[in-house]
């Protein structure tokens, strides 16, 4: 049996202050009141009723007890001290930078910005939608492109998405051509970019042609080309002729670039590129040993429907005012499934917002100043090293001069020694040259120290310092066009204005700092302050991902412990921390399964069985992994139809690669037959991939291994407290059984992964390393009992809501005994018949009550899926239930004919302050009913910034850049 002690109670007088009672919402009294409502004898009895006995763990997790917040932070300080923050001039897509303090304090370290969800409910997300629109506008301006998305996971992923997008838009060119389609990649792209392109091209049957872009030949089979400037060696190229040549040959071109370089250099968009991508990290986002950062992706207007990722657009609200929303959502996986343009779901909203706000704060003049300074220091370095007889070899460079050393390997050895002694990392290349990537933190002293390293290594005196040379580029590569001319980038340059601008945006949005966000499948639990603090400690935030591993021993210890704890929780043998999102984890898991089959000579296995109720990313990921999707039917109770599964597994037995299954199911139920389902798949030679989206209902009570899975991903941003960041970042590590461990992903620069590692899936070896600290903190502070309690209270909170609301709204799926897992689906379809009110109307009306809507129409159209998580106290659950019950009465009034079918509180929701305070009020209900429908709302009123947004208008009149300034209220 599971340990009966609770972290919430039963502490001795000398026990450390338990974190469990801070993380978990209900206290002992509330727990007992709630148990009475759900009619369960005890919390354990309820859990026994919710989870089938045969998949329960028989003993507690083998994990240590929790640490108090104080103890944890003290211990982590000593781990942090094991990281050594050298000055890193390694480059390769990652640069030290200065996060403006006003952004650090008011955005990165502010729950108002890091706790909200992806802005699907646009009326209560206008703040971060505006900030993301700034990001898009900035990217478009700097790259010279027509549209940009609101960020991708990392630069290498953006490059891979560029390849697959060009494959789609060029389908006509390769139609009917004999042989596999080819994609040209310049050999001077970043190594991690090339590795990801290898990873992503092979399953899709795309042949990579890697070579020198200057001599690239474009045969019939070549549909696209990818080049980079500045390239991996820091060399800036004039791509004009190359792009013109490619276009003449009918080849589409993607160009990787650097946003700060684009300030001074001709942007690729002005040369005719189809796609421009890169990393926006150096715009104020800390290195974080690899992430999280926001990659950017910009393209031409004619390609926008083929673009991956989220795109923010401009529309109008019910009153005709400008309003922002996510555009073109039909490209996303929940609609297109296996036909989706990519499996990219999570963006990097928080980091994109930081980068966009960095541009707002500095403006075009500030960015020009920064870029010019960086370049000037690079030139100063060149001239001073020249005085030492060291030759700079890049034809053009922006921030990264490269040096040929006199004396060969021995000199290099001396320089390495001298640099390490000065706590400096340089970019040592295989050809013996050394590249030095400078950044905005560099000053005179840093240049002096760099020159001293070389002087010492050569045994010469350091030359006298000279003033930095002014920036000057050859006319062919110098930027001549203006950028960031929009007023938004030209008016918030004092800290007072910036602080108020950020705060003004923040107050428009609902995050967990405002109220419960009951999104089913998203697990919007507490992101505790103690979990968040360490990510901005310099020992963690300023480490370059390719710094020597011995400088990152603190991180390495955290990774080892985290992997071990995740292995214990999942019941698996090994864990990879590399995948940067849940969908990335799905893809990684499928590639690992594919590699396993192939290694055994089972090359034909390419069929993936996916239940009809699966997350849309599942089929999208399967297609990316080169697999064929076969959909398995659900029973009327919402469970997997085991007979159908058996039939399809038998039918495809020679080709069966895997089953993808979510557990507990996307319907919020612990399916009884899960072990039979897994054994059917194993019987026919397949592997079982468990989607870990609902892991929050498993921890400590059952596990992926216990149900019979071979691989799972774990959404650390759901179950393990990484905040949703208003639409990212996330992390999706995968756990695997022993037979799959050899295939865990590797990395081209830093050794990691299994003995037969597949290619990298993320640009950085441990994905977004710095936010792993959040999950690490969660696990260390809750410990074995706290984490298990969190699961039990997640189940209690869900069943409590079910008990309170089931007489008002039918609950679609439960176990036979009526229990749900950690979430439940309310069916609104019967009400739509009777009243004309749809699930979307209820979602918008909840805004008037101060709540973010539950998940709308997933996994069943016409429904709302509610997941309260363990972190919400009974009082908040009651307010939410009261709101839902009052809304049910409002719907009843329509059914009864006492409220108008069109002009009612639901159809007109949400109600803005301007609408309610207007002199003219023509609705048949009162202003008070509109704005303050229940007494509690008065104390917590959150006014939606805009009225109901016109979605069709936004998609028909696509605008993805900041609108004219007159539109700003």
């Amino acid at each position: 049996m599971i340990d009966q002690r609770s972290a919430v109670s039963g502490q001795s007088v000398t026990s450390p202050e338990p974190f469990g009672s801070r993380h978990i919402g209900p206290d002992d009294t509330e727990r007992d009141e709630m148990l009475a409502v759900v009619r369960a004898a005890s919390l354990d009895a309820l859990v026994d009723e919710a989870i089938p006995a045969r998949i329960r763990l028989t003993k507690p997790l083998d994990l240590p007890a929790g640490e108090s917040e104080y103890q944890f932070l003290r211990n982590l300080r000593s781990i942090a001290a094991k990281n050594q923050v050298f000055r890193s001039y390694i480059g390769l897509g990652y640069y030290d930078c200065i996060t403006p303090s006003v952004i650090l304090r008011n955005v990165l370290e502010n729950p108002g910005w890091y706790t909200p969800y992806t802005p699907y409910q646009a009326e209560i997300a206008q703040g971060r939608l505006e900030a993301l629109l700034n990001f898009q506008t900035m990217v478009m301006d700097l790259t010279g492109m027509q549209v940009a998305n609101a960020s991708l996971l990392d630069e290498a992923t953006a490059a891979a998405e560029a390849m697959t997008m060009l494959h789609r838009v060029q389908s006509k060119r390769i139609d009917g051509v004999v042989g596999p389609p080819q994609f040209f990649v310049a050999d001077s792209v970043y190594p991690q970019t090339l590795d990801l392109l290898k990873s992503r091209s092979e399953p899709l049957g795309i042949e990579l042609v890697v070579g020198d872009w200057k001599t690239a030949a474009f045969g019939d089979r070549v549909f696209g080309a990818l080049v980079q400037t500045p390239d991996e060696a820091g060399c800036v190229h004039d791509l004009r002729d190359f792009i013109a040549r490619a276009r003449r040959a009918g080849v589409a071109v993607a160009v990787g670039t650097d946003l700060l370089a684009c300030v001074l250099l001709t942007p690729p968009g002005e040369l005719g590129a189809d796609i421009v991508y890169g990393n926006s990290q150096r715009f104020g986002v800390p290195l974080g040993y690899g992430g999280p950062h926001a990659a950017f992706f910009a393209t031409l207007g004619k390609h926008v429907r083929q673009a991956p990722g989220r795109i923010i657009g401009v529309s109008i609200d019910a009153h005709g005012n400008t309003a922002y929303r996510m555009s073109l959502q039909t490209r996303e996986q929940h609609i297109r499934r296996e036909k989706a343009t990519s499996n990219i779901c999570t963006a990097q909203a928080l980091l994109a917002n930081i980068a966009g706000l960095y541009a707002v704060y500095h403006g075009p003049k500030g960015l020009t100043r920064i870029a010019s300074r960086v370049h000037a220091y690079a030139r100063q370095l060149e001239s001073q090293l020249a005085a030492l007889g060291i030759r700079q070899v890049n034809e053009h460079y922006f921030d990264t001069p490269r040096f040929a050393l006199p004396g060969g390997a021995q000199t290099t050895g001396e320089i390495v020694k001298a640099a390490l002694a000065a706590r400096i990392n340089l970019g040592y290349r295989r050809d013996g040259t050394v590249q030095i990537a400078l950044d905005e933190t560099v000053d005179e002293g840093d240049i002096r120290d760099l020159v001293a390293v070389f002087a010492r290594a050569l045994g010469k005196p350091a030359p006298a310092a000279e003033p930095p040379a002014p920036a000057a580029f050859a006319p062919a590569i110098a930027r001549t066009t203006s950028f960031l001319t929009h007023p938004i980038f030209n008016r918030h340059h004092s800290e007072t204005e910036m602080m108020r601008y950020i705060r003004g945006l923040e107050r428009k949005d609902i995050g967990l700092d405002t109220s419960m966000i009951p999104l089913g499948s998203c697990t919007m639990k507490l992101n505790a302050a103690s979990e968040m603090l360490p990510i901005t400690w310099p020992e963690f935030s300023r480490l370059h991902p390719f710094a020597p591993v011995d400088q990152a021993q603190g991180y390495q210890q955290v990774f080892r412990e985290l992997e071990s704890m995740l292995a214990t929780i999942t019941g698996f043998a090994a864990v990879s921390l590399q995948p940067n999102s849940g969908a990335q984890g799905e893809y990684a898991g499928l590639l690992v399964i594919r590699a396993y089959h192939r290694d055994r000579g089972d090359t034909a296995r390419d069929v993936v069985l996916i239940p009809a109720s699966a997350h849309g990313t599942n089929p999208a990921s399967a297609v990316m992994a080169g697999m064929r999707v076969v959909v398995v039917a659900s029973t009327s109770e919402g469970n997997i139809d085991v007979d159908d599964l058996r039939r399809k597994a038998e039918e495809h037995k020679d080709r069966l690669a895997a089953l993808m299954v979510t557990y507990p199911s996307t319907h919020g139920v612990f399916e009884e037959a899960i072990q039979d389902i897994c054994s059917v798949v194993h019987q026919y030679g397949g592997q079982v991939y468990m989607d870990g989206a609902n892991m929050n209902a498993q921890v400590g009570l059952t596990s992926p291994a216990a149900i019979g899975a071979d691989v799972c991903h774990i959404n650390l941003h759901k179950t393990f407290s990484i905040p949703h960041g208003g639409g990212g970042p996330g992390m999706g590590p995968i756990g695997v059984a022993a037979h799959l461990a050899p295939y865990l992903p590797g990395h081209p620069i830093v050794a990691t992964g299994g003995a037969h590692a597949i290619h990298a899936l993320s640009a950085a070896p441990w994905g977004s390393a710095s936010i792993l600290l959040i999950s690490y903190a969660y696990m260390k502070m809750l410990g074995r009992d706290g984490m298990t309690d969190a699961t039990r209270f997640a189940i209690l909170n869900a069943n409590y809501i079910k008990s309170r609301l089931e007489q008002h709204y039918p609950v679609l799926y439960t176990r036979e005994n009526g229990r749900v897992a950690h979430e439940m689906i309310f069916d609104l379809r019967p009400l739509k018949q009777a009243s004309g009110i749809e699930e979307g109307d209820v979602a918008k009306r909840l805004m008037d009550y101060g709540f973010h809507a539950p998940t709308v129409s997933f996994p069943v159209p016409g429904t709302l899926m509610v997941e309260p998580t363990e972190s919400e106290p009974k009082g908040e659950l009651d307010r939410f239930c009261d709101a839902m019950i009052q809304i049910r009465r409002e719907i009843q009034a329509i059914i009864d004919g006492t409220a108008d079918r069109r002009d009612n509180v639901l159809k007109n929701a949400p109600h803005t302050a301007s609408a309610v305070a207007a002199d003219e009020w023509t609705h048949p209900y009162s202003r008070e009913e509109a704005a303050f429908p229940l007494p509690f709302v008065r104390a917590h009123k959150h006014w939606p910034a805009v009225g109901r947004i016109d979605n069709p208008y936004g998609d028909r009149n696509l605008i993805c850049a900041c609108p004219p300034i007159e539109e700003y209220a």
Partner: protein
């Protein structure tokens, strides 16, 4: 208000209609289809000269919340495309049976006899 189903059109089970005139036919989607999709925001159509096969996709239609393939009622070649539709996709909602998408020159006119008539189609969507 539901639009009437013209008696002179032929219909498919995939909810397209075709208005035949000699060996040519105008193709659109039915009132039922537009109602199911909701507000149409985008229509992607083939180019003139594209070869279509009966029952195969010749384009896509998107609403705010759904995306659907357009299936050709007949085999043939596209001889005309309703290009202005790109800029006013909402006419698919307001006038579904008056908004054609492509004109197809049939290579196998006998295929049309296998399509539904207005009464049969209305039975299908009941």
């Amino acid at each position: 208000m539901a639009a009437a189903y013209p008696a002179g059109f032929k219909y498919t089970k995939d909810h397209e209609w075709i208005e035949l005139a000699g060996d040519r036919g105008k193709v659109g989607i039915t009132d039922y289809a537009q109602a199911q999709l909701g507000d149409v925001v985008y229509v992607e159509l083939p180019e003139v000269g594209a070869k279509l096969k009966q029952g195969q996709s010749f384009g896509t239609i998107e609403s705010v919340k759904a995306v659907s393939e357009l299936y050709s009622p007949v085999t043939g070649e596209v001889v005309e495309v309703n290009a202005p539709l790109k800029d006013k996709p909402e006419t698919v909602n307001s006038d579904p049976h008056g908004t054609w998408m492509v004109v197809v020159k049939l290579t196998n006119p006998s295929e049309a006899s296998g399509l539904l008539d207005a009464a049969q189609y209305q039975d299908l969507i009941k």
